[in-house]
């Protein structure tokens, strides 16, 4: 049984369809990245799965319990970090986490044991007795993660867990997610694509409420058309002859000037079938007396994939 399951979730706000038929399942040890432009419906979908919002139609399940008809059972098994990591700013970290633990039914003693372990792991020791409104963004986010983990749930839904963190904090957060991932089913939303490559076993791309892709990050990269391009730097400010020679080669779909600096020109060459190869092209240019200063294969990034897929949805 999948730990998280969404079946044909639809959510309409008036005439706006925020979520439009999202279905997926997440098993233990999977980390699924929800990707999409702002306003794509990521947060709305997460709110529905967590049971905070009712779907217009469709069902969401946490370990087989319906988020809406069996909310208590479902929520016991769910750790949820809402968008923006809200917390009661007038409470201390200790009081806040104690409150959440109590609401999850942990006894004082259980809560203390569990929190002692968590605080160490998440790095909240130094701010333990501080009020939440006095904390930096990084610490606030960690408090948000801590409250989601307090009852050691099997399912974690984290809405932008690294938003607003500095690079070191992002790294730590990813380490933390990876360290707990083997025992849990995790769904995170993000618009930072490197994060998906770093922590996710699967990526679901959403735009305008629709699911556009559901695959491993590497499969997404492989599927993208014209995934890679050849970057060629030539020692001339006038690349016209080079462009003419390259573009007449069979297999080349596009050549354009990427940049021109100090009498050097960088060209980007797209060859969908990877023919001619870089070596062949270098040979051809050499025979035509065009000095190639540098040449490398520019790999497609998830950024490109993301742009390609989501722009497709716009048009």
């Amino acid at each position: 049984m999948a730990l998280v399951e969404a079946r044909d979730l639809v959510k309409r706000f008036g005439s706006l369809t925020a979520v439009d038929g999202i279905s997926f399942a997440v098993d233990r040890a999977e980390v699924v990245g929800f990707l999409g432009p702002n306003g794509a419906g990521k947060s709305t979908a997460m709110k529905i799965i967590s049971g905070f919002l009712e779907p217009t139609s469709g069902q969401a399940y946490i370990e087989g319990y319906n988020s809406h008809s069996q909310p208590i059972e479902a929520r016991r098994r769910l750790g949820y970090l809402p968008e923006g990591a809200p917390a009661y700013s007038d409470m201390s970290v200790a009081d806040f986490l104690g409150f959440i633990a109590g609401m999850h039914g942990l006894s004082k003693r259980q809560a203390n044991d569990r929190l002692a372990e968590l605080v160490e792991r998440i790095g909240l020791t130094e701010v333990w007795n501080q009020r939440i409104d006095a904390l930096s963004k990084g610490f606030k986010r960690r408090v948000g993660i801590a409250q989601a983990l307090v009852h050691d749930p099997d399912v974690l839904i984290l809405d932008e867990p690294t938003d607003g963190l500095d690079p070191n904090q992002k790294y730590e957060m990813r380490e933390l997610i990876q360290s707990i991932a083997p025992q849990k089913a995790i769904v995170i939303s993000t618009h930072i694509l490197e994060e998906v490559e770093a922590v996710c076993t699967r990526a679901i791309i959403i735009a305008k409420g629709r699911m556009l892709a559901d695959a491993t990050p590497s499969a997404l990269l492989a599927d993208t058309q014209g995934a890679s391009a050849l970057a060629i730097t030539i020692d001339t400010a006038d690349p016209r002859r080079a462009i003419e020679i390259i573009s007449t080669q069979p297999g080349i779909s596009e050549v354009h000037v990427a940049e021109r600096i100090n009498g050097v020109t960088r060209l980007l060459v797209h060859a969908p079938q990877s023919r001619p190869t870089a070596a062949e092209l270098a040979g051809i240019l050499g025979r035509s007396d065009i000095a190639v200063a540098e040449m490398f294969v520019k790999r497609a990034s998830l950024d490109d994939v993301f742009r390609q897929i989501t722009n497709g949805a716009e048009n």
Binding site: G51, R75, G105
Partner: protein, 244 residues
């Protein structure tokens, strides 16, 4: 019951997390004392009772109780913590009850701080302490009604200001329900039964019956039922927002 208790404790402590609670208590005490001594002529009347004090309660509460309750839900919505709260494995009514109890306990504290007045009348004369006790209980129940109403309104908004204004407006109708101001609006279309029903829901009328020391039970039942009904409305308001 534990979730209710936890919410109660959190909310009650939240009142004292800022100076707002102290300011509120001072304003309440100053107004209550000022109105009792200067407007009602506490000393000039030459009577050892607190009727001049309780007389002002509906009017004081009309403004002060929405001020206590406006944050209960509106602030959760504004800060986003409502999402946290409503995805915890507890029943919504447990949270609704805990929040209201915290506000009600705060109102109790405000009333307790006026007991020097009670002591004063006992020093000056021999008042009917049974009536005063009943009046205190009646006042507390009426405060609870105001608070339950305001909490339900607060659940509909993420602005504390709107919650305050909305709650005060609705409360005003209840306070004035026995007056022609409200009754005239009903009289034009409703049968006598409805008019009588509206009249019987007057906060002023019900509270007066308690402070006069007559017909206490029906008025107590009225306030308690209104509290229960408003708490139910509060739960419904949260449900409705969830589906919106």
């Amino acid at each position: 019951m534990r979730p209710t208790l936890l919410v109660f404790r959190r909310e009650f402590a939240a009142y004292f997390a800022t100076p707002v609670a102290a300011v509120f208590l001072i304003v309440f005490l100053a107004l209550a004392a000022g109105l009792t001594f200067f407007m009602s002529g506490f000393f000039d009347r030459g009577q050892a009772d607190l009727s001049g004090f309780f007389f002002w309660h509906p009017w004081l509460f009309l403004v002060l109780m929405p001020a206590i309750a406006m944050r209960l839900w509106a602030e959760e919505r504004r800060s986003g913590t409502i999402e946290l709260l409503m995805t915890l494995p507890v029943q919504p009514w447990q949270i609704v009850l805990g929040k209201w109890l915290a506000a009600w306990a705060f109102a109790a504290l405000a009333l307790l701080l006026t007991t020097p007045l009670w002591i004063t009348v006992n020093v000056l004369g021999s008042p009917d302490n049974g009536v005063i006790l009943a009046s205190y209980i009646g006042s507390w129940l009426m405060a609870g009604s105001f608070l339950a109403l305001a909490a339900a309104v607060s659940a509909l908004s993420k602005s504390q200001v709107l919650a305050f204004i909305g709650a005060t407006a609705v409360s005003f109708l209840f306070v004035m329900a026995g007056f022609d101001l409200v009754l005239a609006a009903v009289r034009s279309w409703a049968p006598p039964v409805i008019i009588e029903a509206v009249r019987s829901m007057s906060f002023l009328g019900n509270f007066q019956r308690i402070t006069d020391g007559v017909l206490e039970l029906p008025s107590i039942v009225f306030f308690v039922s209104l509290i229960v009904f408003c708490l139910w409305l509060n739960v419904r308001a949260i449900d409705v927002k969830k589906a919106a």
